[in-house]
């Protein structure tokens, strides 16, 4: 296409951006992958697991080359109330075998690897370069401005993968409103421990890893926690409601300190050395906060498009980023070939997202973030669950054992939960997750 430097400019070399660049390059179109950090992933953090199934088509046998820390073979959900904890623990050694399910990884290494795949496919990677704005002609996006001298870069299509709080999508007018309640902040400490100590404490061997999701550990601030294992570090973190943090004047690191001191967590990290503290904003509300995904000359993917699934038992982001980025790349390459980068010419992106897991999962689970952040899920459920289990396992001889119904009813009454409210919320959860 004449008058352009590249067919496609992808802004942000995270998982979404690299996936987009891979698809564009493999379609035989020229693509520039801009990254503001000195290397891909150098500014990225996350709180969990890379689910790699989406990579199967993008990078066949990816597990043989991706820089993985541990393969998650143990997945636990923990409910915390006071100093009590109730854990549902699932093990599947099969996930430790190819083609695997999910893995823990360091984002600077994982993102650099995926960007390397894009470079090998023919993408031009430019690091230490920030896209500062859009270039428009007659209302159509025709490139980006960067912070380098002579830094304008013109392209048929711009794919904005510039992360949560996307300035490019905002400048393009694709975010109709900016509601802080849609966002959470994730904070994480990476704690170094000898590998054999991690193996012993988490009861795993070799490359096996553990991912623990925690509810009820954030005090008065709605949110959740997580613990996962890398080879020689353990990551402990929280996801916290931004408005609640601001309203209460609470420091996230203080809540994290309390989580680390909890009797269920402290023995896991005892003696470890904190080697990193990081924080990141998360587009928590998912489907309900998504921007316009398609504009004239521009597509939005990854966290920039709020493609982060925070649905309680499912906490996924990297796979949605890769999925949306790959589809954006395919659409952009097709538009460049056809010479039609108008919103109509790029409309296939939205429909391909709708027919893939990316938007179908988000649409189906759109109520899940609200459910998870509700007072019932945050405080009442962990307290009732821990209390019921405490009553069940506390031997009160010579008093006879109480019946289960009585225990549950007493605990519900103690926490002011009416059965009809419980059923209503249960139905709501069934409709959401069912």
């Amino acid at each position: 296409m004449s008058g352009t430097d590249f067919d496609v400019v992808v802004v942000g070399a995270g998982p979404a951006g690299s996936a987009a660049a891979i698809e564009v390059a493999r379609a035989g179109r020229s693509v520039c992958l801009l990254e503001r950090g000195p290397s891909p992933g150098s500014k990225n953090m996350y709180g969990g697991v890379v689910y790699g199934r989406i990579l199967d088509t993008l990078v066949p046998a990816w597990w043989e080359q991706a820089p993985v820390e541990r393969w998650v073979t143990r997945r636990s959900t923990m409910l915390i109330s006071g100093d009590q904890a109730l854990t549902v623990d699932f093990r599947n050694p099969g996930w430790g075998e190819a083609p695997h399910n999910g893995a823990t990884a360091y984002r600077p290494e994982f993102d650099s690897w995926l960007a390397g795949v894009a470079v090998d496919a023919g993408a031009e990677l430019v690091c230490s370069t920030t896209a500062t704005g859009l270039i428009r002609e007659a209302g159509q996006v025709v490139g980006v401005r960067t912070d380098r001298p002579n830094g304008d870069l013109r392209a048929s299509v711009v794919v904005a993968c510039d992360g949560v709080n996307s300035f490019l999508a905002k400048e393009a007018g694709m975010y109709p409103h900016d509601d802080p309640s849609n966002f959470t902040v994730g904070v994480k400490e990476t704690i170094a421990l000898p590998r054999h100590v991690i193996d012993e404490r988490f009861a795993v061997r070799g490359d096996e890893g553990v991912d623990i999701e925690i509810l009820g550990c954030t005090g008065d601030v709605p949110g959740g926690g997580f613990v996962y294992t890398n080879r020689s570090t353990v990551a402990v973190g929280l996801v916290l409601s931004l408005p609640a943090l601001a309203a209460g004047g609470t420091r996230p690191e203080e809540i994290l300190r309390l989580l680390k001191a909890h009797p269920a967590i402290a023995p896991l990290i005892e003696g470890g050395e904190v080697v990193e503290y990081s924080a990141h904003v998360i587009p928590e509300a998912g489907y309900d906060m998504m921007p316009e995904l398609v504009g004239d000359g521009i597509l939005v993917a990854g966290d920039a498009a709020a493609m982060c699934l925070a649905a309680g038992i499912w906490l996924e982001g990297v796979n949605f980023a890769i999925g949306s980025g790959a589809l954006a790349g395919r659409t952009a390459a097709l538009a460049a070939r056809r010479g039609d980068a108008s919103a109509a010419g790029l409309a296939g992106y939205r429909s391909s997202l709708e027919s893939s897991f990316v938007l179908s999962d988000h649409r189906r689970l759109r109520d899940a973030p609200h459910l998870v952040m509700s007072d019932l899920a945050q405080r009442v459920l962990p307290a009732v669950a821990c209390g019921v289990v405490e009553d069940v396992f506390t031997v009160t001889n010579p008093t006879p054992k109480p019946g289960m119904r009585r225990i549950v009813r007493q605990r519900l009454r103690r926490h002011g939960v009416r059965l009809r409210d419980l059923f209503r919320e249960g139905l709501r959860a069934l409709r959401t997750f069912g």
Binding site: D5, V126, D147, P149, G151, D152
Partner: protein
Amino acid sequence: MLIAACVKLVEIRPLVDPLTGSVDPGREVGCSAADRAAVEVVRRLAESWSARTLLISVGPPRAEPLLVELAAVGIDAAVRIDAPRGVDSSTVGRLLAATLADVGADVVVCGDYSSDRGSGSVPAFIAHHLGAAQALGLVEVHTEGPGSLRVVRRLDGGRREVAVVDAPAVMSVEGSVAELRRAPLRSVLADAVPVEVVATDVPLSVRTLPTRAFSPPTRVASAPTGTPLDRVVELTGALVERTPPRTVALDPPEAAGMILEQLRSWGYLDEPDPA
């Protein structure tokens, strides 16, 4: 006129174990702030004197992306002298000087020392081999006229030395001398400066020498006097008059007050001003 900048590929985020002092070099590579300042000084001198510029490094092939990245700020040519990591400073100086003499460099600018435990001796070795003037550890570099520089050097005690240096000269600059400019996007995209590789005869492995455990020289010590109990008492100071230790349990404000009071009684702090 040709002005050359010498840079070295180093690990930029080494991890030092505070307990053992062992160093994990880390994965991220780049060059020191001083090397980046050297490149910027070269660019500024070249603009003043309308001179050609050269970027040069001794190192393995993985140093080439660094040369390409730095050359994008407007360097005319880049050379990598092929050698393994860990070559000693005198060899690096000799290799650099040989190539710089071949290309006819008039002024050579280096960082004052590399950030991987560098000794800062390479610029001096280069100057020696080239027979050029040397001005090392500079904090300011100004042009006086074609081929002439007025430089400011850091001395002990906060003093400064101002010198005029004429080409041919070798200089080393501190990282604070200049901030490397941003490379234009077009230069970054173009990879415009190819890296020329110069072969050397430096062996690809580092030569190691056998070492012996340190053995202190023998000295004559007089026989101990007194009973073993006397010697233990003398060594431990157990019977010397001293302030007995106290254990107190106080709230933080009271504890802080007691610490201050104790420090005053020992003479470490002045008495509080009654006013």
